[in-house]
């Protein structure tokens, strides 16, 4: 049995020693604080039933239970099992050379906390991650023990997302995969060189091997037609990349994601804008996290997964990064203006999806509605299709929305940028002028009015 004491490590020397018994409030504070930089929070994809009158069930679409002040949803109890780490990853708040308070839960504490939060409908399930205590395998065993208390003792059928510790052995992935709904291994740094630079103790193979193993396990499990099979990671696996800590371009990151979706069948790749926590000569110092870049990557990620785009189409070597003003789809459309305008009444589903401003829901609505009659701009509005951007790229019954201006690239680009102007932060400086001192004063204006100047 794992003991109830908390370990604290003395700075830079890895000596573990017992301080005192910490109460659950302190532990929650420390370990939720360390877990908050993980972007993943979705609770979708699992339809686990409530068995044996136990507690909880999965909801396929996922449910968000609250939103914190940064606008990110809270759907899972996101905590670390422990933040006593033996690794020294430069970007991480919990690296062993940092002086932060350290704490470790016991498996029972995590299980009790989860059940009690779940019963009050605060959360949709548990997101359990951990720093590496002693060794990857030792940490994995603790995670498995925690989750098996929840599943087998409390008969908890809610959502559980568990991190796999990089470098753990395959034999431990199997039992964990049968207990949880979703597993993830964080890649964090998008290239081998960056990994070497910022996370010297982690190996590329230590990350990719468990990912491949999980992906094969899911495939095998789907082929199994047995009535008594136990689902293996039914909600799939995900990963996370840090954006802005290393010099990789958007193209390189998007290519990596595309590969992960195609080869390893990942459900999601999360992007996390880098927040400067540690000072290190290898790390950039950013005033604020690159949130716009993160947003653009998410937009492009959606285009890869639901819109049939490829990474090569969105970006290429001459444009390795996304446009600051226009979203990736608009940007693509303006560079491929020869494919537009598209006739709404005849275009097929995949072509409709390529129109900026038309998404999966709108495209499906259009396809359903045009079975009964021809669509024009008014009926599109009635369907609830947002035409703010789409109107520049489509024709309805052969007609363009603007009768005076014809379809041409510069007209569209100016209008789109004009629409986005409110979202842009205007720089706060003004044009200098040699006539500044000669500006008319208030008195001059009055004199001018009365005619006495």
């Amino acid at each position: 049995m794992f003991d109830f004491f908390v370990f604290c490590d003395i700075i830079s020397t890895n000596v573990w020693f017992v301080v005192k018994k910490m109460d659950i409030i302190d532990k929650l504070k420390i370990l939720a604080d360390s877990a908050k930089y993980d972007a993943s929070c979705s609770s979708s994809g699992s339809s686990r039933k409530n068995k044996n009158r136990g507690i909880g069930n999965g909801n396929v679409s996922g449910i968000c239970h609250s939103w914190s002040n940064d606008g990110r949803c809270i759907s899972l109890l996101k905590i670390l099992f422990s933040n006593c780490c033996i690794y020294d990853c430069k970007y991480c708040i919990n690296r062993c050379t940092n002086t932060v308070r350290r704490a470790t839960f016991t498996p029972r504490e995590v299980a009790d906390l989860t059940i009690n939060f779940y019963k009050r409908n605060y959360i949709e399930g548990l997101f359990l991650s951990s720093a590496v205590i002693k060794s990857p395998n030792y940490t994995m065993e603790l995670l498995i023990r925690t989750i098996s208390i929840l599943r087998n003792e409390y008969h908890f059928n809610g959502y559980i997302h568990c991190k796999t510790i990089p470098g753990c052995s395959k034999e431990l992935i199997d039992p964990l995969g049968k207990l949880v709904d979703r597993m993830s291994v964080n890649i964090e740094l998008p290239s081998h060189n960056s990994l070497k630079l910022l996370a010297p103790q982690k190996e590329k193979d230590g990350i990719l091997t468990p990912m491949t193993y999980i992906s094969n396990g899911i495939k095998q499990n789907k082929l199994d037609k047995s009535k008594f099979k136990i689902d293996f990671v039914p909600a799939g696996q995900t990963t996370q990349l840090i954006i802005g800590a290393t010099p990789e371009s958007d193209l390189k990151i998007l290519k990596l994601s595309e590969g992960l979706y195609q080869k390893l069948n990942l459900k999601r790749v999360y992007y996390s804008a880098y927040i400067s926590i540690n000072n290190d000569k290898n790390l950039p110092t950013l005033k604020s996290p690159p949130l716009l870049r993160e947003n653009r990557l998410y937009q492009a990620d959606w285009l890869l997964r639901f819109y049939g785009f490829k990474a090569d189409e969105l970006l290429d070597d001459s444009h390795p990064n996304f446009n600051n003003i226009l979203d990736p789809k608009c940007d693509w459309a303006l560079r491929h203006i020869e494919q537009f305008p598209i006739e709404i009444n005849t275009a097929d589903y995949l072509t409709l999806l390529r129109i900026p401003g038309i998404g999966v829901i709108s495209a499906k609505k259009i396809i359903r509605a045009r079975r009964s009659f021809y669509l024009d701009f008014d009926s599109l509005k009635k369907l609830g299709v947002v035409l703010k951007r789409a109107k520049y790229f489509i024709t309805c019954k052969g007609k363009y929305f603007d009768k005076i201006c014809k379809f041409n690239e510069s007209f569209i680009e100016t209008n789109l940028i004009y629409q986005e102007r409110n979202n842009l932060k205007q720089p706060q400086f003004e044009q200098l002028s040699i006539f500044d001192s000669l500006q008319p004063t208030k008195e001059d204006k009055i004199k001018c009015l009365t005619g006495s100047l």
Binding site: D33, K36, G56, K119, R120, I275, L383
Partner: protein, 252 residues
């Protein structure tokens, strides 16, 4: 539906779903559309209106229910039910037209999204369902001293029943009460069956001792998970409108 007669009358019904289906039955049989449909208890009499009270008739309602499922499809029944739960004005009249036309054209009715009443019914369903989904997350149970879980909500639409069914599936072995404060009705579940009753018939004991502790822990978690570098209250408010904050444990 063009040869249907519009009659200058106001139908009054008891506000229940079956009461409404009785109106649908009568209208379809006589091929007439009323001028207005109102609930009995909220109707203010007006000397211009001639009112007819429609008695709820379970047999007629059941026939309409079966008829919808058989002739227009279960999709339409789903639309009808959720649109009926919404708090939109004039919802009854729109659903009536939607159903009557549906009996004529069949399942195709759901493609006619450019017809105003079809679009309204579909968007009412969408609104009701999205509020229901939101409250599946934002509802907070409190454990009471007699081992009962209690939650109060203030929803715009009458979503108590679908919401209750979600929690029955989730907490099959828990006794719980969900109270809709805007309508003064309660959803009561005792691990075997559920009932919807008026909230006057319910008294709520104090909260249990454990409850305080877990509320504090939850507030702490909520505060801790916030990343101050990414502060974005507008985004938060967009997802979690202020009207729901009164029932939350964690007040942002």
């Amino acid at each position: 539906m063009s040869n249907w007669k519009l009659i200058n009358k106001t139908y009054l019904y008891d506000g229940s779903f079956y009461g409404f289906l009785t109106i649908v039955f009568d209208s379809y049989l006589t091929k007439t559309l009323p001028q207005k449909i109102c609930k009995k208890n909220t109707y203010l009499s007006n000397f211009l209106d001639t009112t007819i009270e429609i008695e709820t008739n379970l047999e007629k309602a059941q026939r309409i229910l079966n008829g919808i499922e058989k002739n227009i499809g279960s999709d339409t029944l789903y639309n009808t039910y959720y649109a009926f739960l919404s708090n939109e004005k004039n919802k009854e009249f729109n659903i009536l037209k939607y159903l009557c036309n549906g009996f004529i054209v069949g399942p195709k009715i759901n493609h006619n999204l450019t017809t105003s009443y079809v679009f309204k019914v579909v968007s009412m369903r969408k609104k009701t369902l999205s509020e229901c989904h939101k409250l599946k997350g934002l509802l907070r149970f409190q454990e009471l001293s007699n081992n009962l879980s209690y939650a109060s909500i203030h929803p715009d639409n009458n979503i108590l029943e679908p919401l209750g069914h979600h929690f029955i599936k989730r907490f099959a072995s828990m006794n719980f009460v969900i109270c809709d404060k805007n309508r003064d009705i309660c959803f009561v579940y005792n691990t075997k069956e559920y009932k919807i009753i008026h909230s006057q018939n319910i008294c709520i004991p104090n909260i249990s001792e454990d409850e305080k502790k877990y509320q504090e822990l939850w507030k702490l978690f909520f505060k801790t998970i916030f990343i101050s570098e990414r502060n974005n209250p507008r985004c938060q408010m967009q997802f979690m409108p202020k009207k729901y904050w009164q029932d939350l444990i964690e007040k942002p």
